[in-house]
């Protein structure tokens, strides 16, 4: 049974307000049947220093990725990950984490690949919860294991592969498709690969996929780590960048984590119909022979 949505007026402005909850809502609903709170952080130890009471941890590096193949875990492993955390197929899962919910949206996106229906983000994430002085604990929850069905991952709707992006380039040229590069301007222009002495991003070529708009992912976040209000997001993605909700959009970054944040913003906050995350991202594209690359600040 899904929990009721948060009726907070700020959230109501978004295209899919049921995908977000406020810290007030979460505090009031903690411990409810049918709710599991998941912390997903950049820092693998942060959860262990203290977390929201009852929250479980999912680490994307060591748990959501396959340890051998560059891919996500399969349906059988995903079922174990969920089951041992007390997550059933109809559980409401609220994700939160550090760094403006960067890794929380990434975990949510992976859950979405498996078609887990009720996935939500805690607006403001860990930072806001802590800033408000809300309860934290180091006590590890011990959820009873539940059955989670083995579901085949859907890699066609929310995920793009390199060949999909190559095919997408025609749409970008024709104006019906768009690419959003959510990395920093230095990575986008290609400068960052040329820093002396230190390997930067594990890619042999620098720059961006031709036609890509550059909107660093964190522009969607406000100072307090919440998502910016809808009007502010529209000012960035629609007015400034010229994207539109009926565009076919592919977002990418270096390995697909920062772009899952933008995927969440475009899909759930602005209501874009078709947004895919290219998780191969620059570490694949920038190492691939004979794919087109643009350098400099222009889209190219």
């Amino acid at each position: 049974m899904a929990l009721p949505a948060d009726n907070d007026p700020k959230l109501a402005d978004y295209a899919h307000p049921e995908r977000l909850v406020t810290t007030e809502w979460l505090a009031a609903n903690l411990g409810s049947d049918g709710l599991v709170v998941v912390e997903s952080d950049e820092d693998v130890l942060l959860y262990d220093t203290g977390h929201i009471p009852g929250a479980v941890k999912v680490d994307w590096h060591t748990e959501l990725n396959d340890p051998v193949t560059r891919d996500y875990v399969d349906g059988a492993r995903f079922a174990e990950i969920c089951g041992e955390r007390g997550i059933a197929r109809d559980t409401t899962v609220v994700f939160y984490g550090d760094r403006n919910n960067w890794w929380a949206t990434y975990a949510l996106w992976v859950f979405a690949l498996f078609g887990h229906e009720d996935v939500r983000i805690l607006d403001g994430g860990r930072a806001k919860w802590v800033a408000e002085g809300r309860e934290m604990t180091t006590e590890q929850p011990k959820p009873a294991t539940v059955d989670y069905p083995v579901v085949e991952r859907d890699d066609t709707t929310l995920r793009a592969f390199k060949d999909d992006v190559l095919a997408h380039l025609e749409k970008v040229k024709g104006g019906t498709g768009a690419l959003v590069d959510v990395r920093s301007p230095g990575e986008y222009s290609g400068e960052l690969l040329h820093m002396p002495d230190y390997p930067q991003e594990g890619a042999v070529r620098g720059g961006h996929i031709p036609g890509a708009a550059n909107v660093p992912w964190a522009r969607a976040a406000a100072e307090d780590a919440t998502f910016k209000p809808r009007a502010d997001l529209e000012a960035i993605y629609l007015q400034e960048q010229g994207l539109s909700a009926d565009d076919d959009v592919v977002a990418y970054c270096r390995i697909g984590e920062r772009s899952s944040h933008t995927w969440f913003v475009l899909t759930h906050l602005l209501g874009f119909g078709t947004v895919r995350n290219y998780d191969g991202s620059w570490t694949e594209w920038g190492n691939t022979v004979r794919v087109p690359i643009a350098q400099g600040a222009e889209r190219g």
Partner: protein, 148 residues
């Protein structure tokens, strides 16, 4: 690892003696033991070198004592990383516990891939370990520059 200074070798031993879950716990404990910065590094961003390869902001400073012949001069290490970055603090604490006070020659002799022996790849992920490799490389660069 024959080339490691004794306290670093001890840490490597501690880590490799336990399973992945306990390695994380060990790293967490180390992160809590990272000493505070002395007053002269209060403004970390201006006076210290940033390790960009770390996922979270980490600043380090290297001091080499005067006096003895350059290779024998003791090296001192200072790190600054926020409490919300316990993994990075843990890496820094490994460096501090294992290398602070060692001679320039011994610091430079630490194999660049020593951290592989900690066995953290599985618990932390190889990508995150890049930060530790970079930390050591930058420490060595500073030691070289200060003993040249």
């Amino acid at each position: 690892m024959a080339d490691l200074p004794p306290r670093l070798a001890e840490l490597v031993e501690d880590f490799s003696a336990v399973g992945p879950k306990d390695r994380l716990q060990l790293l967490l404990e180390l992160s809590q033991e990272l000493p505070d910065l002395p007053e002269r590094y209060a403004d970390a961003a201006d006076s210290m070198e940033q390790v960009h390869e770390c996922q979270s902001p980490l600043f380090l400073a290297v001091e080499v004592e005067d006096g003895a012949a350059a290779p024998d001069r003791p090296v001192h290490l200072f790190f600054s990383a926020p409490p919300e970055a316990p993994t990075t603090r843990g890496f820094a604490s490994i460096m501090h516990t294992g290398l602070d006070g060692e001679s320039a020659a011994d610091v430079l002799a630490v194999p660049d891939d020593f951290y592989v022996a900690l066995g953290l790849g599985q618990a932390v992920s190889p990508l995150r370990l890049r930060g530790m490799a970079a930390m050591l490389a930058r420490i060595k660069n500073q030691v070289r520059a200060r003993t040249a």
